[in-house]
C-alpha cells in the first residue's frame, strides 16, 4: 500500500512552476494518450495528430503560468490540443480550395485492434464516419464522460449546442450500428 496519495494535476502544475520539471513529465504521462486520441480523431491523420499532440504540450508548458488554480488540467490541455488541430485544419483548407478529404488512415494501430472486438470496431468505424462537429463532441464525451460543461469549454460552444450535437451524434451512431 502506498503511503502517499497520488498527486493531483494542480499539484503537478504547481510543482512544475516551482522549478520541478519532472512534475510536468508526469502530466505528459497522464494525458499523452488522451490528447493523442483527441488529435487523431479530429485530424484523421497519424502524423498530423502526432504534431498536434506535441504542439499542445509545448504550448501548455510555455503558458503554464496562465493555468488557473482549481481549473481542470484535462479540460485545459484538451482545449489547447483541439485549437491546435483547428488551426492546422484551417491552414490546410486555406491551401486547398476543395473540402478537406477524409485523409490518411484514422484506423487504430495494431495494438489497439487486438484490444477491440467486432462491436467495438463497428462503433469506431461509425464514429469515424460522423461529420466533424459530431465526431469531436463524441470523442470528448468518450474522454471526459458526462462533463458537458467541460466539453463546452474545450470546444468554446454553448452547453445547449454541445448537448444537441451529442444527441444527434448518438442518433447517427445508433442508426449506423443498426444498419451494420
Amino acid at each position: 500500500m502506498s503511503s502517499s496519495a497520488p498527486e493531483t494535476d494542480g499539484d503537478l502544475v504547481a510543482a512544475t512552476l516551482a522549478g520541478l520539471p519532472d512534475a510536468f513529465g508526469t502530466l505528459v504521462e497522464r494525458y499523452e494518450r488522451a490528447v493523442y486520441h483527441l488529435c487523431l480523431r479530429t485530424m484523421r491523420d497519424a502524423e498530423e495528430a502526432r504534431d498536434c499532440t506535441q504542439e499542445a504540450f509545448f504550448k501548455a508548458f510555455r503558458s503554464l503560468r496562465t493555468f488557473k488554480p482549481g481549473a481542470k488540467f484535462s479540460t485545459w490541455i484538451f482545449a489547447i490540443a483541439y485549437h491546435a488541430c483547428c488551426d492546422r485544419l484551417a491552414g490546410a483548407k486555406r491551401y486547398s480550395r476543395a473540402e478537406m478529404p477524409d485523409r490518411a488512415d484514422p484506423a487504430p494501430g495494431p495494438e489497439a485492434v487486438t484490444e477491440m472486438n467486432d462491436d467495438a470496431r463497428a462503433l469506431r468505424a461509425a464514429i469515424d464516419a460522423l461529420p466533424e462537429k459530431y465526431r469531436t463532441v463524441i470523442t470528448l464525451y468518450h474522454l471526459q464522460g458526462k462533463q458537458y460543461e467541460d466539453i463546452a469549454r474545450v470546444l468554446d460552444l454553448p452547453m445547449g449546442t454541445v448537448k444537441t450535437h451529442l444527441f444527434r451524434a448518438k442518433e447517427l451512431l445508433r442508426k449506423a450500428l443498426v444498419t451494420e
Binding site: P21, D22, F24, G25, V28, E29, E32, R33, A34, Y36, H37, L40, R41, A46, A49, R50, T53, Q54, F57, F58, F61, P108, G109, E111, A112, E115, M116, D119, A120, L123, R124, I138, Y141, H142, L143, G145, K170, L173, R174
Partner: protein, 122 residues
C-alpha cells in the same frame, strides 16, 4: 427505453480503447519542454548587435588596409591629428559642453527626448 439504448451506447463508447500514441512521442514532447536547452539571452539588443557588427567590420577593414598599404597608416595619423586639433578648439569644446549640460538637464528633469528608434524595455 431510450435511456436503456443510451446506456448501451454509452457503455460501448466508454469501453472503446484510446488510440496508442506512436513510439517516441513522449520523449519528443519532453525534449521540447522540460529537457529543452535554455536559450541564453543576449546582453545586446538587435540594433546594438548590428552596430557592434558594423564597428568590428570597419575595424577589420581598416586593419587590413593598414597591413596592405602603409600610406593608409599615414593618412589615419593625419585624421587623428586633425581630430585632436578640432577637439582642442575652444568653440568645439563650448559646443560639447552645451550638449553635455543639455543631457544632464534632461536626466535631472527625468524626461528624455523621443527618438523614433527608442529601445524596447522588457
Amino acid at each position: 427505453m431510450n435511456d436503456d439504448l443510451d446506456d448501451d451506447l454509452d457503455r460501448a463508447l466508454f469501453a472503446l480503447p484510446l488510440d496508442v500514441p506512436p513510439p517516441g512521442l513522449r520523449e519528443s514532447i519532453l525534449r521540447a519542454t522540460i529537457y529543452a536547452p535554455v536559450a541564453i539571452p543576449s546582453p545586446f539588443s538587435t540594433l546594438e548587435t548590428i552596430g557592434i557588427g558594423i564597428a568590428l567590420a570597419l575595424a577589420a577593414w581598416i586593419a587590413i588596409l593598414c597591413v596592405v598599404d602603409h600610406s593608409v597608416v599615414l593618412a589615419l595619423g593625419d585624421v587623428v591629428t586633425e581630430l585632436v586639433r578640432a577637439l582642442s578648439d575652444t568653440q568645439t569644446l563650448v559646443w560639447i559642453g552645451v550638449g553635455a549640460l543639455t543631457a544632464a538637464a534632461f536626466t535631472i528633469a527625468g524626461t528624455s527626448p523621443r527618438f523614433p528608434f527608442n529601445r524596447r524595455t522588457s
